[in-house]
């Protein structure tokens, strides 16, 4: 296992370096640089433009700049953004990464779980009306034009019903004179939500150990107690309204990304489950007289999960791309939006920073998915 991990990490490092090289030269090869864009005004003399270029280091050959960039990057210096000139890239990324991670992680987890459960049930009830209806829904969600779907969600929930805000991270009016920054609140929100989720998970895990009769109450308590604790915490700290503002802005983008990712997982789980149901061991399990839900959950779904997990590995790149689209439509100030804006004005340090973070995110989720595979499928052992 450790040898595999070391080998894998080495491969990841090489991949990341190749990725950085490819993206650096791609961004760099754009016609015109940031100096052209900043000195668009014809009254600015060309000598000033040249001076700016030298100041930003854009006069040197690309290969040299790339080497300097890589050396700085691996010594922890990501440079300063050209757009927001004196602001270090690392600061922008620190501010924006949690936002993207929340969007991506919550959507991936929820859609994977929901897709697994519904796909399983759909395959089990093959040929029923509900199966056709859900398959159509799944195909629609999987192939729908994402920007349009996001716009429709905004139109429905924000404009027509007026339940949720239409976009952006927060409502600036409510934050006038706020004693804390939005990011502090957001980080605290992430921490409390994670703690509550862990408590819930532990409660459910413990509920399997108690006698059947009390199980329901343990589960109810383990669900309600963390929720009450979180609500109490925000009430008492006095930051509740600010947290609520961010939370309402968070719902719509997360819901959109989740729904889009859900369709693919559900369809894949259904197909995989159909394949598994034809296996001989399912026949054996039925012939033994096992109850239906045991055959379905313990024998079929457990094995059908394997290709779905592989599918998850393939789709990670896609869901990160989907996140960028959603961030743009919802003006959600995450890494994707930063990347799009930076790439369009040749803000090389910020674009490279965002690219690298996206690359690291993809690589890390691939690694986690691969390690998870060994836990899901006991036949797989990494040497």
């Amino acid at each position: 296992m450790w040898k595999f991990l070391a080998k894998r990490l080495l491969q990841m490092a090489i991949t990341l370096l190749l990725f950085q090289a490819a993206t650096y030269f791609l961004i760099d090869a754009q016609p015109g640089d940031i100096a052209d864009i900043m000195t668009m005004d014809p009254n600015i003399p060309p000598t000033e433009r040249q001076r700016l270029r030298i100041e930003l280091g854009l006069d040197r050959p690309p290969a040299e700049r790339f080497l300097i960039y890589i050396r700085n990057f691996y010594t922890g210096n990501l440079g300063v953004s050209f757009q927001e000139y004196p602001k270090p890239v690392i600061q922008i990324i620190k501010e924006r990464l949690p936002r993207t991670l929340v969007l991506f992680l919550s959507a991936s987890l929820v859609s994977f779980w929901a897709g697994f459960v519904t796909g399983k049930i759909l395959a089990w009830r093959r040929g029923s009306f509900i199966e056709y209806a859900s398959t159509i829904t799944g195909v629609t969600l999987y192939t729908v034009f994402t920007p349009w779907f996001a716009l429709m969600m905004i139109w429905l929930f924000a404009i027509k019903l007026g339940w949720l805000p239409a976009g952006k991270f927060l409502d600036p009016v409510k934050w006038i004179g706020a004693p804390v920054t939005s990011n502090m609140i957001f980080i605290r929100m992430i921490l409390t939500a994670t703690a509550a989720l862990i408590l819930m998970f532990l409660g459910f895990w413990l509920s399997n150990k108690v006698p059947r009769k009390q199980r329901f109450f343990v589960r109810l308590a383990s669900f309600l107690l963390p929720v009450v604790a979180v609500v109490l915490y925000w009430r008492l700290s006095g930051m509740g309204p600010y947290a609520w503002d961010i939370a309402t802005h968070l719902i719509l983008p997360v819901l959109t990304v989740t729904l889009i990712a859900y369709g693919g997982t559900m369809l894949l789980m259904r197909t995989s489950m159909l394949e598994t149901l034809r296996e001989d061991y399912i026949m054996t399990a039925r012939a033994k007289g096992l109850p239906d839900n045991v055959v379905r959950d313990k024998h079929a779904a457990r094995n059908a999960l394997l290709p779905v997990w592989t599918g998850l590995v393939f789709s990670i790149g896609g869901s990160i791309s989907g996140g960028i689209i959603t961030e743009t439509i919802f003006s959600w100030p995450g890494i994707g939006l930063a990347l799009l804006n930076a790439a369009l004005v040749a803000d090389i340090p910020l674009a490279m920073g965002a690219f690298t973070i996206i690359g690291v995110m993809t690589l890390a989720s691939h690694l986690i998915a691969d390690i998870g595979y060994a836990f899901i499928d006991p036949r797989i052992r990494y040497h």
Binding site: T15, F145, T146, E275, I320, G336, L340, A343, F355, I358
Partner: protein
């Protein structure tokens, strides 16, 4: 005296044609069993006719000055965008052009784009898969690491950066999407299929008969990989049409007219979040969704033809 039976030599191509016809018929029977695939095929045919109808309409009923998808302008209507009417079935866009005409005109390019990039992807993926399975060893390792790299790269950001690097028209976009998107997973699937084909006796026979590596890969392995490659082609078409629409929606291509661009125009002119001008947003978005869904459904139905374990019986 025995009557000598005369052997009439049947040319090889006729045998092959007959076999091909036979397998096509049995595949079609399997395909036709599935309503999902037929719906998809029906939708593709509909869009095909939709695309074909445009030049015919332009030459007969529609006056080019008014109905031209990019340069037309209807002077008889005072204010654009105008609501759907008998003259303009889906209304006109903010620049005074007929929406239906734009929709039909764009369809053919979506087809060309989708199919061209799918062909590019599948050719690359099949070659990589077959070569990697056939040779194994170091070639396999190198190619598979390369495939891993391609799978990991987030495709859309790269495309966004590329779009500011080169002037991306339809053809360039098709090639870029074909080369960059999705051949990773296709190559892995094709490779696993190729590993099964590689150990079949006829490959051994071909090798004993003195066939070279190149000959064996392209004459004996590839025909057996084509069904699965065709299947993945359908999914690539879906991805390609989607990517083009997203890029055009962000205004990053130089394509003169496409469904994504129609939505982009709606957005830049400020008609996006209004329900009274639905005809600017909904037809184009729905067309993208439906064409993507059509290819996807055909792909799923083909999956059941190629993969016997998915069939109902």
């Amino acid at each position: 005296m025995t009557t000598q039976t005369k052997i009439v030599p049947i040319p090889l191509w006729r045998v092959r044609l007959k076999l091909f016809w036979k397998s096509l018929r049995s595949s079609w029977a399997l395909f036709a069993e599935n309503p999902v695939g037929l719906i998809g095929l029906g939708m593709i045919i509909f869009f095909g006719l939709f695309a074909l109808a445009h030049p015919i309409l332009m030459n007969t009923v529609w006056e080019p000055r008014v109905y031209h998808p990019t340069m037309g302008y209807d002077m008889e209507i005072a204010f654009h965008p105008s609501q759907p009417s008998a003259r303009h079935l889906l209304g006109t866009d903010p620049l005074g052009r007929d929406v239906l005409s734009q929709l039909m005109y764009s369809t053919r390019y979506e087809f060309v784009l989708g199919i061209l990039s799918a062909v590019v992807t599948v050719v690359i993926a099949t070659t990589i898969g077959a070569v990697s399975a056939y040779y194994g060893g170091i070639v396999d390792t190198l190619l598979m690491r390369f495939v891993d790299l391609v799978i990991m790269v987030p495709f859309l950001p790269i495309l966004i950066v590329m779009s500011s690097l080169i002037k991306i028209g339809m053809l360039e976009l098709a090639l870029v999407i074909g080369v960059l998107s999705g051949f990773g997973s296709t190559a892995i699937v094709v490779k696993s299929q190729a590993l099964l084909v590689k150990v079949k006796p006829f490959i051994e026979a071909a090798r004993i008969a003195g066939g070279g590596d190149f000959h064996i890969i392209f004459k004996h392995m590839l025909p057996n990989l084509l069904p699965i490659a065709l299947l993945y082609m359908m999914f690539v078409v879906t991805g390609a049409i989607f990517s083009e629409a997203v890029l055009s929606f962000f205004g990053l291509t130089t394509i003169e007219m496409s469904w994504g661009l129609m939505i982009n125009i709606t957005q830049t002119q400020g008609y996006l979040m209004r329900f009274d001008t639905w005809f600017l947003l909904i037809p184009a978005s729905l067309a993208i969704t439906l064409l993507c869904a059509a290819f996807y459904l055909v792909g799923r139905a083909l999956d059941e033809v190629v993969n016997p374990r998915l069939r109902r019986r």
